[in-house]
């Protein structure tokens, strides 16, 4: 409280940094509009995928980075979100077409609601599952927690595969309405980023960081550690559910195989590369990794190097990414941003420092 009073000088003054932020946001909005109207379908898809990965990376970072809970079951929550949202938005005719092996349960057949409430319900469903799982599992620590969450992620996937009258089993759902437009995904990414920034400034966020840094000390300071953990887990599941729903409506096809540990690994990669415990790190890294993932696709395809031709090396791309992750963990454990946040001052500092270094040589 006291901190706020001293630092909160004129909250709406138009300082240089704030101006820069507004300019940057406006520039981005223009970019998004240009992208939406001029990019070809593939590029636009990559562009929008960045937004979805921002949501997902932030949701994992909330757990791994800010609360210090190493969870590996993220794909499961995304699956819950994706399926709930898909089932709520698909029209009865579309469901009829998809469920040709086993008919859909009657109470789901005729539900069709708009995207916005559907995605919120999807997030809530995912949060509910997260709460149910978190309450018992969060008593475990470190590695045990990682394995237990990984286990739950797999269990969710197996349940989805087997609950054929509800989820259509291994066939998955096809032809979901393409609701994840440029506008909706970037608004979602923006809102989630804003939410994370505000959360980390609030007392809840500080409590989470305290739990991460020293559980015992946090408890001694009167923080209800268990409740903080469950809250963080639930909120993270909510965000993962929203991200999963967006992903489903972007790709327009979902099936249980999509939500394996591989997906969790991709998001973990983004979080680690960006810096565990940095919001801006996750955002930057989500964009960079998503673009790289697509840009490096050429590695899997036949290459014509001057001296020899390779005939398509499927898998090379993932080799590159795994090596990248390991090199990052071994040589630069803190990732791109460490646990710092991006600010204009930092950017300026970067250039000024460089200038000074140049001066030293003279």
């Amino acid at each position: 409280m006291i901190m706020k009073a001293t630092t909160g000088k004129q909250p709406f003054a138009l300082t240089r940094n704030r101006l820069l932020t507004i300019i940057a946001l406006a520039a981005f909005a223009v970019l998004a509009i240009i992208a939406n109207s001029f990019f070809d379908a593939f590029t636009l898809r990559v562009f929008n995928m960045c937004a979805i990965y921002i949501v997902l990376a932030l949701s994992l970072n909330l757990l791994n980075g800010f609360t210090g809970l190493f969870s590996l079951g993220h794909a499961g929550f995304m699956a819950v979100g994706a399926y709930v949202c898909a089932l709520l938005t698909m029209t009865p005719e579309l469901k009829e077409m998809n469920y040709f092996l086993v008919p859909i349960v009657p109470w789901l057949r005729n539900i069709t609601i708009p995207f916005l409430p559907a995605i919120l319900i999807a997030g809530l469903a995912s949060a509910f599952v997260g709460f149910l799982i978190g309450a018992p599992v969060l008593r475990l620590r470190d590695d045990y927690l990682a394995i237990a969450t990984l286990g739950f992620g797999e269990i969710i996937r197996v349940l989805i595969t087997n609950a054929q009258p509800i989820t259509n089993g291994a066939q998955g759902l096809k032809g979901l309405p393409r609701y994840a437009t440029t506008f909706s995904v970037w608004v979602a990414a923006g809102l989630v980023t804003l939410f994370m920034v505000l959360l980390m400034r609030s007392s809840y966020g500080r409590a989470m960081k305290a739990v991460r840094d020293d559980e015992l000390a946090a408890e001694a300071m009167g923080i209800n550690v268990f409740r903080v953990k469950v809250t963080s887990f639930t909120v993270s599941s909510f965000l993962a559910g929203v991200g999963g729903a967006l992903l489903g409506h972007m790709i327009t096809t979902i099936d249980p195989k999509m939500f394996t540990f591989m997906l969790t690994f991709n998001i973990l990669l983004i979080v680690v590369l960006g810096g565990i415990g940095s919001i801006s790190g996750s955002v930057i890294s989500a964009i960079v990794v998503t673009i790289l993932m697509e840009a490096l696709r050429f590695l899997d395809e036949p290459m014509n190097l001057i001296f020899f031709k390779t005939e398509g090396l499927p898998g090379l791309r993932m080799v590159v990414f795994s090596i990248l992750l390991m090199v990052m963990v071994i040589y630069r454990q803190r990732g791109l941003m460490g646990n710092k946040e991006f600010s204009w001052d930092m950017l300026q500092g970067l250039f000024v420092k460089k200038g000074r270094k140049g001066g030293d040589h003279v």
Partner: protein, 297 residues
């Protein structure tokens, strides 16, 4: 269910349990010493199977020679893996080393896709191992009998090494207290390498036997068994070799028996291990045979 069918299921369960136990030992030994979940262990298992496969098909070695070569190669590979991926991080936070392990696992998997190809490969099972033998009305494949026999032999050797030799004593010392062991002039690096070597050796043996029993290879074949065996190690009490063996057999038996007696649930086969894990963790977080560790403040 007839008695002979029941026997067949029991033999199957024992051989699956043996394979799980072999792999689980690798997890439990590494965890006991470094407090690290070696996520790449399942992929070491896969590597062992592939090397033996290429030994048989490309170099046309006899199967037992391919087995020995593959085991030796995989053991060295395991030692190398530790040097490259885990040793630089030994003093880092647990999360970093776990991420490195996950990275190593994915690296091995994608390298396997790259080098061995993503398409599944059929394994030529040697005739000796695929022969069907009959005991009265019970008929079974030799491999299902050989697996438990070899497993028990290997376990005997392992128990002897850990309890009776000097290296084994060093291993126990390092797993109790790494710093104190170092002060007592135990070469920690050597012990860790030795541990990884033994773990990988057992995993390679398990992988090769697995590929003879379920004769198909693919680069991701180590993923599920790897996870399940880690679970077996946790259920038994991680850090304890006896616990890993017990967990492995428990898991193998439960899995086969549930599929045998409740075939409607067989779609959930892969989920049983996880459910069992969560139940055990919640009831007795240190596993069935695990010692309770005092929490250091």
């Amino acid at each position: 269910m007839t008695l002979s069918l029941l026997f067949q299921h029991i033999v199957n369960a024992l051989s699956l349990g043996s394979l799980y136990a072999l792999i689980a030992i690798g997890y439990t030994m590494v965890y006991g010493i470094l407090r690290l979940i070696n996520f790449a262990h399942g992929d070491v298992f896969m590597l062992g199977a592939y090397v033996a496969f290429y030994g048989i098909t490309l170099v046309s070695l006899p199967w037992w020679a391919a087995l020995l070569v593959s085991i030796a190669f995989t053991a060295l590979f395991g030692i190398g893996l530790e040097r490259v991926a885990y040793k630089p991080l030994r003093d880092s936070p647990r999360i970093s080393i776990m991420i490195s392990a996950i990275g190593a696992s994915f690296l091995l998997e994608s390298l396997a896709v790259l080098i061995f190809g993503g398409r599944p490969k059929g394994v030529p099972v040697p005739d000796v191992l695929s022969k069907v033998i009959h005991f009265g009305s019970v008929s079974m494949i030799t491999i299902s009998l050989i697996i438990p026999l070899f497993t028990f032999a290997l376990l005997g050797v392992l128990v002897w090494i850990v309890n009776k030799t000097k290296t084994g004593m060093a291993m126990r010392a390092v797993s109790t207290d790494i710093e104190a062991a170092r002060l007592m002039a135990v070469d920690v690096n050597k012990v860790v390498s030795f541990t990884f070597g033994i773990g990988s050796l057992l995993a390679a043996f398990g992988g090769i036997m697995w590929s003879f029993k379920y004769p198909q290879l693919n680069p991701l074949m180590g993923m599920m068994p790897g996870l399940k065996c880690f679970i077996a190690a946790v259920i038994g009490g991680i850090g304890s070799i006896g616990g890993a063996v017990m967990g492995g057999f428990l898991l193998g038996i439960i899995e086969i028996m549930i599929v045998a007696f409740l075939p409607t649930l067989s779609g959930y086969r892969d989920a049983f291990a996880f459910i069992l894990l969560i139940v055990v963790l919640l009831v007795k977080p240190t596993g069935l045979l695990g010692k309770r560790q005092a929490e250091k403040v």
